[in-house]
C-alpha cells in the first residue's frame, strides 16, 4: 500500500509542480501572485476538449495547440490586466489578479457549461491505460510514465531556457532589477509578457494532462489546483524554479500519504496547513531567498 500511495502522490505532485512553476516564475519576475494562473490551467483542459470534439484533431495535436492557446491567454492576461498596473501598489495588482480569476472562471462556465465534461470516447490514445511496468505489486500505466516523462522534460527544458538562453538571462535580469535591466537595453515589458506566455503554456499542458488522466473537466477545477500549486511554490521557496518542482512533488506525496494514513477529510487542509506553517516558520521556503518588503508594496 505504501508504494501505491507513493506513486499516487508522485503523479499528483508532478502536476502540482507544473502549475507551481508558473506561479513561481511570474512571482520571481514581477513579484505578483497571479491568482488567475489556476484558471489558465483550467482553460488548457477545456481548449483541448474543444479542439478534439469540434475540430476533430488528434490528441497530441490538440495538446500542442492548447498549450499555444494558453500561452496566448497568459500574454493577454498580462497585457490587458497587469501591465497597466506595473507601478501601482501591489495591493492593486493583487486585487486585479483575484478579479481576473473570478472573471475567467465564470466565463468558462458560460462558454462550456457547469456540467463536468469528459474527453470524447476513444480520443485519448488507447495504450495509455495499458500497464507499462509492474514493481512491488504496483502497476504503472503508460499514462503515468507519460506524465512523469513530460514533467521531467519540461522542467529540464525550462531550466535550460532560464540558464542558457539570452532570453533567460534577460528574465533573470528583470527579476533582479527592472530599472537596471531597462538601462542595459532589455525590453522589460516584453520579457514579462513572454514569462507569462511560458507560464501559461506549462499551465495549459498540466491542464490537458489532468483532464485526460481523470477524464473530467469543470470550470472550477482551476481554483483548488491553483491554491495547492501556490502552496507548493511557497514550500519550495517562491521565485525558485527547482524549489517549485520539489515543493509540488513533496506536497503531492504528503497529500497522498496524509489521506491514506491520517484523515481523508482533511486532505485539502494538508496543503493549506503546510503553506501557513512554511510561511510562518521558514518564509523563504526550501530554496528561496527572503523577499524584502519593498516600499512599493502598499
Amino acid at each position: 500500500m505504501f508504494l501505491q500511495q507513493l506513486v499516487n502522490g508522485l503523479i499528483i505532485g508532478g502536476i502540482y509542480a507544473m502549475i507551481a512553476v508558473g506561479y513561481t516564475m511570474i512571482y520571481g519576475v514581477v513579484q505578483l501572485i497571479n491568482f488567475a494562473h489556476g484558471e489558465i490551467y483550467m482553460l488548457g483542459a477545456f481548449f483541448a476538449v474543444t479542439f478534439i470534439s469540434v475540430l476533430g484533431l488528434p490528441f497530441y495535436a490538440a495538446f500542442i495547440l492548447s498549450m499555444a492557446c494558453c500561452a496566448i491567454c497568459g500574454m493577454l492576461l498580462d497585457v490587458v490586466a497587469y501591465r497597466p498596473l506595473r507601478n501601482s501598489p501591489r495591493l492593486a495588482a493583487l486585487i486585479t489578479a483575484i478579479g481576473m480569476s473570478i472573471f475567467l472562471q465564470n466565463l468558462a462556465m458560460i462558454i462550456w457549461g457547469s456540467r463536468p465534461k469528459p474527453f470524447p470516447h476513444g480520443t485519448v490514445p488507447a495504450y495509455f491505460d495499458n500497464t507499462a511496468v509492474t514493481f512491488g505489486g504496483v502497476n504503472l500505466s503508460w499514462f503515468h510514465l507519460f506524465i512523469f516523462g513530460l514533467t521531467l522534460v519540461m522542467m529540464i527544458g525550462l531550466n535550460l531556457i532560464i540558464k542558457k538562453t539570452r532570453w533567460g538571462k534577460a528574465m533573470r535580469a528583470v527579476a533582479q532589477n527592472k530599472t537596471m535591466a531597462a538601462l542595459t537595453g532589455i525590453n522589460v515589458n516584453r520579457v514579462i509578457t513572454y514569462t507569462f506566455a511560458l507560464a501559461g503554456a506549462l499551465g495549459g499542458a498540466a491542464g490537458v494532462m489532468v483532464g485526460a488522466y481523470y477524464n473530467s473537466l469543470y470550470p472550477t477545477m482551476g481554483y483548488v489546483a491553483g491554491v495547492k500549486a501556490f502552496a507548493a511554490a511557497v514550500l519550495g521557496g517562491i521565485g525558485s524554479v527547482p524549489g517549485a518542482m520539489l515543493g509540488g512533488v513533496l506536497l503531492g506525496v504528503a497529500e497522498a500519504l496524509g489521506a491514506g494514513y491520517l484523515s481523508s477529510l482533511y486532505r485539502d487542509g494538508i496543503s493549506y496547513a503546510v503553506m501557513i506553517i512554511v510561511i510562518i516558520l521558514i518564509p523563504a521556503g526550501l530554496f528561496g531567498k527572503l523577499i524584502k518588503e519593498t516600499k512599493k508594496s502598499m
Partner: protein, 357 residues
C-alpha cells in the same frame, strides 16, 4: 468627504440624518414587502462586514482574503451557544466579538511580520481551514448536515417584571441591524480620528516613515487585524440568529471576495464609501437575478460582472467611487512614475538595443 469646511460638514450631516430617517421609516411604506426588508437587512449585514474588513485593506493597506473565516467563526459561535446553551443574543455579541478578536490575534501575530503578499495568502489558507473544520468536525458543528433550529433573539424583561418579547418576522431584525450598523459606524469614526487610526494611516501611507516616528508596526497591525476580525464575528453572530440555519457552505471564499469587492468599489478607507459599496453590490445581485433571465443571459454573468468590476476599478479608479485623498494619491503615484519613468526608459533604450529582437 470635505470634513474641512464647516459648510460641507453640515451638508454631509444633513444627508446622513436624512438617510437615517428614511431607513427608520422605510418599513412603513406601503410598497415595502418582507422581501425588500430581507434584502435591506442583508445590505446592513454586509455594511457591518465591509466596515470591519475595511480596517485591514483600507486603513492599513494590507490585503485580507480570509475575512469570511471570521464571519464563519462568529456565526458558529453564536449558533452553537444558542443551540446548546440557549444563551441570550445580547450575551453572545460580546462573546463573538472576543472570539473573533482572539483568532485575529492568533493568526495575525505570527504572520503580520511578513510582506503583504504572504499575509494575503495566509489569510486565504486560514479561511479555507475554517471551512474544512466546520465541515469535518461533525460532533461539534453537525458539519455538512447544517445547524438548524437556532432560536431567534429575544428581549427578555422578565427580570424586571416586564414581558419577554421574541423576534418574529423581518421587522425586529431590521431595527436591530440598523442599531448594529450605527454602532459600527460610530466605532469606526472614533477609531479613525483616534491615535490608533492615525498610526494606521501612517503605516498605510509610508511604513518606513511610520517606524521612524516610533510606531510599532507589528503591534498596530495586529490590533487592526483583531478589531477587523471581531467585527466580522459580530456580523456572523447576527447572521446566525437571523437565518436560524448555518451550513459550512455559507462561508466559502466567494463571500470574502464579495466583501472585498464592496470596499474596492466604494473606496478603500472611506467609511461612507464602503457602505455605499455594500448597498450597490447587494442590490446589483438582486437586480441581476431578475434582469439576466429576461435578457436570456446565464446567471454566471452576475459573478463575471463582479470580477470585472474589480479589474476595471483597479485600472481606472483604483481608489473607488468615493476616494480618500491619501489612498488616491498613493494609487496615482505609481501611475505617474510608470508614464515618466520606465516607459520613457524603454522608449529610448529598449527600441535601439532590445534583447528580444
Amino acid at each position: 468627504m470635505g470634513r474641512l469646511s464647516p459648510q460641507n460638514l453640515s451638508r454631509g450631516d444633513m444627508i446622513r440624518i436624512g438617510l437615517l430617517i428614511l431607513a427608520l421609516i422605510l418599513p412603513f411604506f406601503p410598497f415595502v414587502s418582507d422581501y425588500i426588508l430581507h434584502i435591506t437587512i442583508l445590505i446592513f449585514l454586509y455594511m457591518i462586514l465591509a466596515l470591519g474588513l475595511n480596517i485591514v485593506p483600507g486603513f492599513n493597506g494590507l490585503l485580507d482574503l480570509g475575512y469570511v473565516g471570521f464571519f464563519g467563526i462568529g456565526a458558529y459561535t453564536s449558533g452553537l451557544l444558542t443551540v446548546h446553551f440557549g444563551l441570550s443574543y445580547w450575551v453572545i455579541i460580546p462573546l463573538a466579538f472576543a472570539n473573533g478578536a482572539i483568532w485575529g490575534i492568533l493568526l495575525g501575530a505570527p504572520t503580520l511580520r511578513l510582506t503583504g503578499d504572504y499575509f494575503a495568502i495566509v489569510t486565504f489558507g486560514f479561511s479555507e481551514l475554517v471551512v474544512l473544520f466546520l465541515t469535518n468536525e461533525i460532533w461539534l458543528t453537525r458539519g455538512p448536515l447544517g445547524l438548524p433550529g437556532i432560536a431567534p433573539p429575544s428581549i427578555d424583561l422578565t427580570l424586571f417584571g416586564g414581558p419577554k418579547w421574541e423576534f418574529a418576522g423581518e421587522l425586529p431584525y431590521y431595527y436591530l441591524a440598523i442599531v448594529m450598523v450605527l454602532v459600527t459606524v460610530f466605532v469606526m469614526y472614533r477609531i479613525q480620528d483616534s491615535r490608533l487610526g492615525r498610526a494606521w494611516f501612517a503605516i498605510r501611507d509610508d511604513e518606513i516613515a511610520a517606524v521612524s516616528c516610533g510606531i510599532n508596526l507589528l503591534n498596530y497591525k495586529v490590533i487592526a487585524f483583531a478589531i477587523s476580525a471581531a467585527f466580522g464575528a459580530v456580523g456572523g453572530s447576527f447572521f446566525a440568529r437571523w437565518v436560524t440555519f448555518l451550513s459550512p457552505d455559507m462561508f466559502k471564499f466567494w463571500e470574502s471576495f464579495l466583501i472585498l469587492c464592496m470596499i474596492v468599489l466604494g473606496g478603500m478607507g472611506n467609511i461612507w464609501g464602503v457602505m455605499i459599496g455594500a448597498v450597490v453590490l447587494v442590490s446589483l445581485s438582486e437586480v441581476l437575478r431578475e434582469l439576466l433571465p429576461l435578457l436570456g443571459l446565464p446567471v454566471q454573468v452576475r459573478f463575471l460582472a463582479f470580477g470585472l468590476i474589480m479589474v476595471l476599478m483597479m485600472r481606472f479608479r483604483p481608489a473607488g467611487i468615493m476616494p480618500i485623498p491619501a489612498v488616491a494619491a498613493k494609487m496615482k503615484a505609481g501611475r505617474v512614475k510608470r508614464k515618466r519613468g520606465t516607459a520613457a526608459a524603454e522608449l529610448k533604450i529598449g527600441s535601439t538595443t532590445g534583447l528580444n529582437k
